[in-house]
Amino acid sequence: MSGATFTWNGRPVPFLAGQSLAAALDAAGVRDLGADGLGSRRRVFCAIGACQGCLVRRDGQVVEACLTVATEGAEVTPVTSTTPEAHHD
């Protein structure tokens, strides 16, 4: 492990170089990716970009965690996070 991390809800998450956010979060024991606004919880389901279940906000932009490569220092939060940083749009 290189020691590189991104943050999930402010908490550092380690990742392997080239690994997706989805795989890194799963390895860190994070399976609940936040509320989806319709009563369900977001989560990694298909890992091939088809189900749209793993949407997260990475540096302000909504992306599929399974299609997004983890990068050092990225700030990743649930899409419907109520932290002040998420209210840019």
Partner: protein
């Protein structure tokens, strides 16, 4: 920027095979893939920092090595991080470049779609909970990371992928707590069903079963998940074993961190255009290749990619005398597997009414019965009035199930259509696209046509 002769979507075995075949014939080819590197799902490559390597059959490894070498030596223009968004009304092909945050409108003479397969997942009470994912998802993340998922994992559903994934996890040091198989493959195989005609399957399957036995992984046949519940940060999974008909089914409980489901595979073709001749207003010839045309597996995909490339060459006026590869052996193999792994209890029977069918919109079986009782008698009405298949996955994981249950609820003989929408009427985007990317789109055609709504 010059436009390619042929655009290929999907850098799995079918897409790469098609792309290199076309490039070797002298055409300019752009190969797009949503992921960061080629391989698709079956040949998912480890990330540069991967912790290890998932064992795969030697023949499979050699197959990819040969394709990757041809790709590297070819003039194919590989574009990772690029998503196919559909065709607009003028026939322009829309592709989203995720890194650049733009959508381009391209005008190739040919388009080959090689988007692979997607898993069938039957609904089960609680399948919407975090920690429940597909077996294929578990496998690609394991291949990318080079290590098995941590914690307790239960694999459930039906099909050969479950034993393959279980064996791979075991060999990497973290076997699943059990494999729950709805079929009874051993009982079916004992009837001598066609296995001798498919020795490759028998060889591979025996290897996986031996690995499971060596690691003492329970393989429960004729068993299915009947309930999934959240339990203090973990999942409590209830499994019923035995058919309801003859004996009372035995109920088993598992507490796990992760439940990986798999009920088969089908083409990943939601919203994809059909095979098409080039249109007068500039739309390309369109052909499908690999699992997204017909789900026959990775070996067939290489052959099918070559077939599609040769068919495209003929469409573009290039003589191409090579015969098409024979896929009948692959079809036979899939038929044998389907027989072996047929569920003992039909997966859609006995669903409690509160079972979620459409996870994106949180619509249940009770909601489906209500919308039918309120007068909906076609899939289109069910979709528009009930919101089934109207969510972010665009019906990819719910349309087929909803259609089958709807057919049961309606009068016998009714043909309600499909909530997935007919392919001919699919409108772009076929995958969610960010509005910012559309606004930033830069048309690349000489006539500078903007994106067209239909």
């Amino acid at each position: 920027m010059t436009e390619p002769d042929v655009l290929v979507i999907g850098a799995g075995p079918a897409g790469v095979s098609a792309a290199v075949t076309l490039a070797e014939a002298g055409l300019s080819v752009r190969l797009c893939d949503q992921g960061p590197r080629p391989g698709g799902a079956i040949h998912r490559q480890p990330a540069p920092g991967a912790a290890g390597r998932v064992p795969v059959p030697a023949a499979q490894r050699r197959r990819w090595a040969a394709l990757a070498r041809r790709l590297e030596e070819s003039a194919v223009d590989l574009r990772p991080g690029t998503v196919f968004a559909g065709l607009d009304a003028t026939g322009a092909v829309l592709v989203e470049d995720r890194a650049a945050g733009t959508v381009a409108a391209l005008h190739p003479r040919g388009l080959i779609l090689a988007t692979g397969a997607v898993e069938r997942i039957m609904p089960r009470p609680g399948w919407e909970l975090p920690g429940v994912l597909t077996a294929g998802a578990l496998q690609v993340m394991m291949k990318e990371s080079g290590r098995p998922p941590a914690g307790r994992t239960l694999l459930a559903g039906s099909g050969p992928l479950l034993v393959a994934v279980a064996a791979q996890m075991a060999r990497l040091g973290c076997p699943p707590v059990a494999v729950v198989e709805a079929g009874r493959p051993l009982a079916v195989a004992a009837k001598g069903l066609g296995l001798l005609a498919t020795p490759a399957i028998l060889h591979e399957a025996t290897g996986y079963m031996a690995t499971l036995a060596r690691h003492r992984v329970p393989w429960l046949q004729g068993a299915r998940v009947t309930c999934i519940a959240a339990d203090a940060g973990a999942l409590r999974v209830t499994v019923a074993r035995g058919t309801a008909a003859a004996h009372k089914p035995e109920a088993l409980g598992f507490t796990v961190d992760r439940l990986a489901l798999h009920d088969g595979i089908r083409p990943n073709d939601t919203g994809l255009p059909e095979d098409t001749q080039a249109t007068d207003n500039g739309g390309p010839h369109i052909l499908r290749a690999g699992d997204c045309r017909e789900a026959l597996g990775g070996a067939a995909a290489v052959a099918d990619g070559e077939r599609a490339a040769r068919a495209m060459l003929r469409r573009l006026g290039r003589a191409c005398g090579r015969p098409s590869p024979d896929l009948s052996g692959f079809r036979r193999a899939q038929a044998v597997l389907a027989d072996l792994f047929r569920p003992a209890v039909a997966p859609l029977d006995h669903l409690p009414p509160e079972t979620i069918l459409c996870r994106c919109e949180r619509r249940t079986l009770a909601d489906l019965r209500r919308v039918v009782a309120d007068g909906a008698h076609s899939a289109r009405e069910v979709k528009l009035n009930g919101r089934f298949a109207m969510g972010a996955c665009q019906g990819r994981f719910c349309a087929e199930t909803t259609d089958r249950l709807l057919a049961r609820l309606l009068a016998e003989g009714a043909a309600p259509g499909t909530t997935a929408g007919s392919p001919g009427r699919a409108r772009w985007p076929v995958r969610p696209v960010s509005v910012a990317a559309l606004i930033a789109s830069s048309p690349t055609s000489p006539s500078d046509t903007p994106l067209h709504e239909d």
